[in-house]
């Protein structure tokens, strides 16, 4: 071990101990506590509360309600950040041709057959997670990241070129991703547009009717809990996240010598 390494180690240990000391003085309090904070109690109360229709959200699940209703604007910008990171990654690969020509090697026939079968099973489960995001744990992010496993498996088991030959080229995946983002944006302002047409008031990211803003997404119909805008947000986020992850993995799986020709000699 060299002197610099020892110095780093000692300073890290001192830092951690000071952090732990501050925490034990009352930063985290006693763990685990009996009660949660007042703000959290408010959120829990208002998630599903027919007695307070103007303040409550429209689903059973508190996390989804916070993510897409109480704090929807934050999540929208977060999705935009993810989109920006993908655009920045594509910028590095500008000019690289992505084609489906040439032969693929892939893996053993047993893995191929099972992967083909799982193309039906896994998206079904993912869609179930997305469409029940307001009733059970789940939602757009979760379902999107579950559905990405199909993309990973196809890239690894059949080869990258197979996914392109099936029609999922780079521009189409980007289009799908943009459609998802547009859908989220449209759901956010849909009530605003409707309110302008009808001549009443509405807020951006409004889910349920509020005082002074009488419009709202359907909450419950014939005994079925529809979840209002949460359902739409979850669905569009599912599409956007799946397409984004697929695009990232597709770019990462490009052959190094093809990329090198374009990127380094430029």
């Amino acid at each position: 071990m060299k002197a610099s390494e020892v110095f780093v180690l000692v300073s890290i240990i001192v830092f951690i101990f000071s952090l732990a000391y501050i925490t034990s003085l009352g930063g985290l309090g006693q763990l685990p506590p009996v009660n949660v904070r007042v703000l959290a109690q408010r959120y829990l109360e208002l998630t599903w509360n027919p007695l307070k229709p103007f303040m409550s959200s429209s689903g059973y699940e508190s996390v989804t309600a916070i993510v897409w209703d109480f704090r929807g604007l934050d999540t929208f910008f977060e999705t935009a950040v993810f989109y920006g990171a993908i655009i920045a990654a594509i910028a590095i690969y500008r000019g690289v041709k992505i084609t489906g020509k040439g032969k693929t090697i892939g893996m053993s026939p047993i893995a191929r057959t099972i992967t083909r079968l799982s193309i039906v099973l896994i998206p079904t489960v993912a869609a179930s997670i997305a469409l029940h995001g307001h009733l059970t744990p789940g939602g757009g992010f979760q379902a999107g990241s579950v559905a990405t496993v199909v993309a990973v498996l196809i890239i690894m088991v059949f080869g990258r070129k197979a996914i392109i030959r099936k029609g999922l080229t780079k521009s189409r995946i980007l289009l799908l991703r943009s459609l998802g983002l547009l859908g989220i944006g449209f759901t956010a302002v849909a009530l605003l547009l409707a309110a302008i047409a009808l001549g009443v008031n509405a807020y951006i990211f409004q889910n349920q009717p509020k005082p002074f803003a009488p419009l709202g997404f359907p909450k419950i119909y014939d005994g079925m809990i529809l979840g209002g805008s949460l359902l739409l947000f979850n669905f569009f986020e599912f599409i956007a996240v799946t397409a984004g992850f697929t695009l990232v993995l597709l770019l990462l799986s490009l052959d190094e010598k093809d990329v090198r020709k374009v990127v380094v000699e430029k």
């Binding site: 026939p109 099972i114 079904t124 489960v125 869609a127 179930s128 469409l131 014939d222 079925m224």
Partner: protein, 167 residues
């Protein structure tokens, strides 16, 4: 898009959706049908080659019978054997990789045999040669090195059933 090959995929997708959500409320039925139609249309051609075979009730009956036989007879025997080996103090092992030929045509039948072999403890398919139709099976207690004998001991019953179901 081939509509006929999409139907079995749709049915499979719908069944999985309903089992996973575990309820038959109108909301689940409606969304289940929508999801099944979309997934079936997208994946039908990749998954199902011959739609007539997939909906044949005789083959499905064989599949159910095979599942029961497999779980209650083959698996129990193999599990008992490997657990005995793992827990006995002397640990009797005689591992080897043997050739096991197979004589089925379709991919699904081949995969059924291979997965059945791997899922019974004591035998694992290490590699496969699809041109010469040979599995290379790692066998924890190699009783023979002759491919024909090994096939009789390891995969004959799986193969007969797989032939009835998929070929």
């Amino acid at each position: 898009m081939n509509l006929r090959s999409a139907i079995p995929a749709m049915i499979l997708s719908f069944i999985i959706y309903i089992i996973y959500t575990g309820s038959v409320s109108p909301y689940d039925l409606i969304t289940g049908v929508i999801v099944a139609v979309i997934v079936g249309l997208l994946a039908g051609e990749i998954v199902v080659k011959d739609p007539g075979k997939a909906l044949d009730p005789k083959r499905l009956a064989y599949l159910v019978k095979y599942t029961f036989w497999y779980f209650f007879v083959a698996e129990v025997k193999a599990h008992a054997d490997v657990i005995k080996r793992a827990l006995s103090p002397k640990m009797p092992l005689n591992p080897a990789i043997v050739r096991v030929p197979y004589y089925v045509e379709t991919d699904y039948a081949m995969t059924t045999i291979a997965n059945s072999i791997t899922n019974t403890p004591g035998t694992v398919v290490v590699d496969i040669d699809p041109d010469r139709k040979i599995f290379y099976v790692h066998w924890i207690d190699a009783k023979t090195s002759d491919p024909g004998e090994a096939r009789k001991m390891i995969s004959l019953e799986f193969e007969e059933n797989a032939k009835k179901i998929f070929d």
